[in-house]
């Protein structure tokens, strides 16, 4: 092992525990493996006042000032980016302090919405989604305030992240292929797949975990985990569990995670279920690391569904692998890449019925559940070992150090003057690649366009700040003062 002085410094922009965020747990794990072996790490956090330091031995920096540390220490940077509000500071940091990005979630529209990103940035990302839907949805949002779940499924806002990163790490081949399909081979040539790591510390035994949780040794325990989101298909799970109980197979269900009521009312869903299921269900709420380990170790099966899935990875599934707990997943997206022997796949079509059948089979054959869990652990130990995952990250960080990124947002200055004919195609050509403030002259002899036609000519992400009508005999037309977001495809 190299001496500390020989190991390059690495600044990691990330939330860390005690943030209630699975990526924070992941980052703590990865930092612990990188630090002292490959790098001398520092963690740049929004919650810089956490005491004690979240990862022993790794100093915490104030993320707002971490760029100074990066400039002094050699410039190696890793960003941990997920699709929730705790990653807003990471998104803002990567714009001016570029490095390698671990992209945990696809899409990023939710992050942009909840992290107070300007509307223009959201519209630019939506407009860059494949035509005609992306630009259409962007105009619907701009002109009518219409935003639906389709926006999240169809509009991918990772274009800026791809452009501003030296390299991007995703956790599955599906996630990499999806990025390539949406953004093209050239813009995703720097995307690598590095699996989610297996936790190196031992999980508690099933017996010890059940004793700690007060669960009978012979109970058939089903566990779900993480934020209770709509994509985790609790509707299917509730239907399947109710059917299992109605069929005479007893079980207990614990959701080992927090609710996200603005998205899904899990408690209400359970309250509306059959009385037998209500009596056997419990929502544990947010759990710390050790408590989550106990729940997954105590389980006979972890049900870990995603549909639709855009390629998310699951920390809970990695824990199930580590504990040898059988897991049931949806046969879709990244989960479809898992070996058939390592997990039970259920199809998205007829999922509730298939899930119920799988649960009954596992309840009747505990050895089968244990065999699947053991196969999952063997698979994970072979492909997800933490030292190998850390080494892969270190190699990517070193290999990409000198790769260029898109320029940071330009500072204020004299806005350039652009000239175009008053039609959408000409305006599109004139504004291609332009960011920030600019003046656009639309020569329109004899024309009298009002605000609505002007808005229709401009890309949806353009903010119209001012308009002057220039009359003959000088150059007749419109002089627009517009603002374009800092990154555009």
């Amino acid at each position: 092992m190299a001496a500390a002085a020989d190991r390059p410094a690495l600044t990691v922009f990330t939330p860390l525990p005690p943030a209630r965020n699975g990526i924070a747990d992941y980052a703590a794990l990865l930092l612990g493996a990188l630090h002292g072996t490959h790098h001398e790490c520092a963690a740049a956090c929004e919650a810089w006042d956490s005491t004690p330091p979240p990862v022993p031995g790794i100093p915490v920096l104030d993320a707002a000032l971490a760029h100074r540390h990066v400039a002094r220490s050699g410039g190696r940077v890793l960003h941990q980016l997920g699709n929730n509000s705790q990653h807003g500071f990471v998104l803002r940091a990567l714009r001016h302090t570029p490095g390698v990005v671990t992209l945990h979630d696809p899409g990023l529209l939710h992050l942009h919405e909840v992290a107070a990103e300007p509307a223009s940035a959201i519209l630019a990302g939506m407009a860059a989604a494949p035509a005609p839907l992306g630009p259409l949805l962007a105009r619907q949002l701009r002109d009518h305030g219409i935003s639906t779940r389709a926006n999240h499924a169809l509009c991918d806002l990772t274009g800026e992240v791809l452009a501003r990163s030296r390299a991007v790490v995703v956790h599955s081949r599906f996630a990499a292929a999806r990025l390539r399909a949406l953004h093209g081979a050239a813009r995703t040539a720097h995307v690598s797949v590095v699996p989610h790591p297996l936790r190196p510390r031992p999980m508690p035994s099933r017996e010890a975990a059940r004793a700690a949780l007060g669960i009978a040794p012979d109970a058939f325990l089903v566990v779900t985990a993480g934020f209770a989101t709509r994509a985790k298909r609790f509707d299917w799970i509730v239907a399947a569990l109710a059917a299992v109980l109605a069929g005479g197979t007893d079980l207990a269900w614990i959701h080992a995670g927090a609710e996200r009521r603005e998205e899904l009312d899990l408690a209400g869903l359970i309250a509306g279920a059959a009385p037998a299921l209500r009596a056997r269900s419990r929502i544990a709420g947010w759990l710390d690391d050790a408590a989550l380990d106990r729940h997954i170790a105590a389980a006979d099966v972890l049900v870990n569904l995603r549909f639709p899935s855009l390629g998310e990875s699951s920390g809970a599934l990695a824990r199930a692998f580590a504990g040898g707990t059988a897991a049931i997943v949806t046969d879709t997206a990244a989960y479809a890449e898992l070996p058939r022997a390592a997990v039970l796949h259920i199809p998205p079509i007829g999922a509730a019925r298939a899930l119920a059948a799988a649960l009954v089979a596992l309840a009747r054959a505990p050895d089968l559940a244990r065999a699947i869990g053991a196969a999952g652990r063997r698979f994970a130990e072979a492909t997800m070992a933490l030292p190998a995952i850390a080494a892969a990250h270190a190699a990517i960080i070193e290999a990409s150090r000198d790769l260029p990124v898109a320029a940071a947002p330009a500072a204020a200055g004299e806005p350039p003057l652009l000239i175009a004919a008053p039609d959408a195609a000409a305006v599109h050509r004139a504004l291609a690649g332009v960011t920030g403030r600019c003046r656009l002259f639309l020569g329109a002899p004899g024309a009298d366009p009002g605000p609505a036609p002007v808005a229709a000519l401009l890309p949806p992400e353009a903010a119209l700040r001012g308009l002057r009508v220039l009359l003959p005999p000088a150059m007749p037309g419109l002089l627009l003062d517009i603002d374009l977001p800092g990154w555009r495809a």
């Binding site: 919650a47 100093p59 000032l65 971490a66 760029h67």
Partner: protein
Amino acid sequence: MTVPLLAAMLRRALPGLRVLDIALAGGGLYPWWPEAMVGPGADVALPPAERALLARFRQAGGAQPLFGQDAARDAALAAGAPEEWGGSGPRLVVGAGDPAPWLAVGAMVLTRPETAAAAERAMLILGLGGAVEQRDLLLPPGGLAAALPSLGAAARDLAGSDGEVGLRAITPRLAALTLFAPASAQEPLVLERTRLVLQEEAGRLRVLLGVLPHRALRLRLATDAALSAVFLDGAAFDPAAAFLPDAQAPTVLGLAGARLRAIEIHPA
């Protein structure tokens, strides 16, 4: 760095002086003129990360945007509006890229000596604790003759018996003032919270202290309870320890766990 001495001299020489310090990123009078209106300067070439950092802050204890963040207020200041300047008394702009517009509305401008301007000029050559620096005070027409006697008196007051003062009117439009003061002439700086440039979010406070003299300093923090975290320029810091400020970038103090009342800055 002689800014503390310069601020003390201007304060004595020009009572009621209102200061607009737009050299926040590179070293102006703040924090030695804590009541100054401040800003990073729109025409300063700052790295994007530094610009993003400065954009977080508000002045006057967090109550007001910085110069450069409120276009209407900036325009009123540039036009010399008394309600924005806090009256019609003497005004000084520090760090203006182009002094001419400010001189045109009657303000004085404090610049680096290489700044070209067709204005009356007092070359201020100050020495404090071994450091010698020159700043030029540009004045609107007739301003030099009016200001020179009071500048000289203030300099003599600060020099005391151990220092040196030289004052010479070279031409009606050019004068030179030299002031060499003993290190003891620098008084500890006390900054009340209401005068600080700061940002507060989620119980965490960042205080922008400006570009401090590049010499060993100590902080004394007055708070209503024990602090749970103290950071200096983004890293954990022992507030009892001396520190050497960055000579190129503004110092930022981070505090959590208690309400800050005041900061004192002392030579170590």
